[in-house]
Symmetry: C2
Subunit: 301 residues, 2 copies
Amino acid sequence: MGILVVGSVALDSVKTPFGEVSEALGGSATFFSVAAGYFTDVAMVAVVGTDFPHEHIEYLSGLGIDVTGLVVQEGRTFRWSGSYGYDLNERDTLETQLNVFEDFLPVVPESLKAMEYVFLANIDPVLQRSVLSQVTRPGLVALDTMNFYIEGRKEELLETISKVDVIVLNDSECRELALEPNLIKAARVVLGMGPETVIVKKGEHGAMMFTGDECFSAPAFPCEDVFDPTGAGDSFAGGFMGHLARTGDLSAPNVRRAVIYGTVMASFSVEAFSVKGMESLTLSDIEGRYRVLKDMSHFEL
Amino acid sequence: MGILVVGSVALDSVKTPFGEVSEALGGSATFFSVAAGYFTDVAMVAVVGTDFPHEHIEYLSGLGIDVTGLVVQEGRTFRWSGSYGYDLNERDTLETQLNVFEDFLPVVPESLKAMEYVFLANIDPVLQRSVLSQVTRPGLVALDTMNFYIEGRKEELLETISKVDVIVLNDSECRELALEPNLIKAARVVLGMGPETVIVKKGEHGAMMFTGDECFSAPAFPCEDVFDPTGAGDSFAGGFMGHLARTGDLSAPNVRRAVIYGTVMASFSVEAFSVKGMESLTLSDIEGRYRVLKDMSHFEL
């Protein structure tokens, strides 16, 4: 019942109004794995350079994450640096150094090909598809993407989207992908591209899920100390997929629960730099925030 | 169990990507009254000029709205014109002609002084307070305001806020009033200014309500055809106060229900220019959307 995630492992330098951090452990596959690791077995396929601190690999595998598919390649690790102003919804990317990530060709190790859940984090849609061609009949495939691929690789992206069960994207990406300013209509357009489920992340405004004619609106956790939003979306995806993989239950009520677990993991993620906000959580920390979200969204007929 | 609303009655000229309208019936007291009128008795205190089309007054009183306090004063009616781009969350005010509204001194007619619910729509905080000094022990007073008063009349506004039970404002106003970018912290700061309840409207992202330690998150209705957001906030307030006045029940679960009725009325309001979106609704239209909101926000523990 484990999850295979393919994405980036990076060294992030981030500045927010509350502090800054240099070359901290980051990347979509990292945030996803740390979040999902609280729920189920996770294996990552990614690449780092020979400069990647070995302690990070030990850290990940110490969390029980299967790093068999994490390739160490001659060269420098992918680096991203960005800054946030007081409006933490708006991010400025200062620099992206692809480095070894530029020639990344994901290879799924034999031992991981039969994993039942697959998360295609935000990488080139052709690479996402190459992963799909290597795995054997996964039970559920989810995909994330970003404006860079929506704008520059649309046809390839559409081809990949048509092959997945769930697409997770943020509200501006959803509007851009659908070429439709109304978010509800935009989500329906994206549903028409093939996935059974469209999840729209709205940062501090929560998330929405669209499936067939159904629409689910999840509140955001009321974080008073948002410190660094980097990785929130991948942590969300980790909680979401983690809960589904843990339970093996794809019924509509359970998929809604999964969205809430995603919300919970994102809320921890944003409370510190790197993956520190998700460090050393207990099941009761996670369930506690789940109940807060339940209470704060409940009303009677 | 009726509501007294004090605010503007205006002629609005609005342009959106979907059409435009010239000198249509608008103003905060208008939207509020039309929405609240579905739930309870409403009386307005406002001013218009001698140029105000009599048919509008007949229209309002035809809806059962008490217009005893609507003064027709020598001069021109308050006019507002604005436009919205494809992002209907962003509004450009093109022109504001205060006209007779400039010297508006609200006078509450004797017959309305004992009304149990009072809504102080978005007018100068000193005028809002003068209304409070005229009414006799209302059961619940709610107030709306805007950036103009937050920036230019802060001390007077704080004095007025300290005297009301509920404040309704949008998210950017809440952050600005509290001088705090985090919305959750900002709402707590506003609670500290006196009101027992702070309601934050977030447009297409729904609304949040803060009361003591409690926080309630209400989804937005998934409108596929947002035509003109003008008046959405006042329509929200009308549904909110309307439900409270209809039921006379200020218990926490019922106040949450009221937020949902506010959301429903706002969703109708934005589907057409002026108050046309709220015209000829049936109770079953309103209850239908209430149930949609219930279904779309429900998840299990």
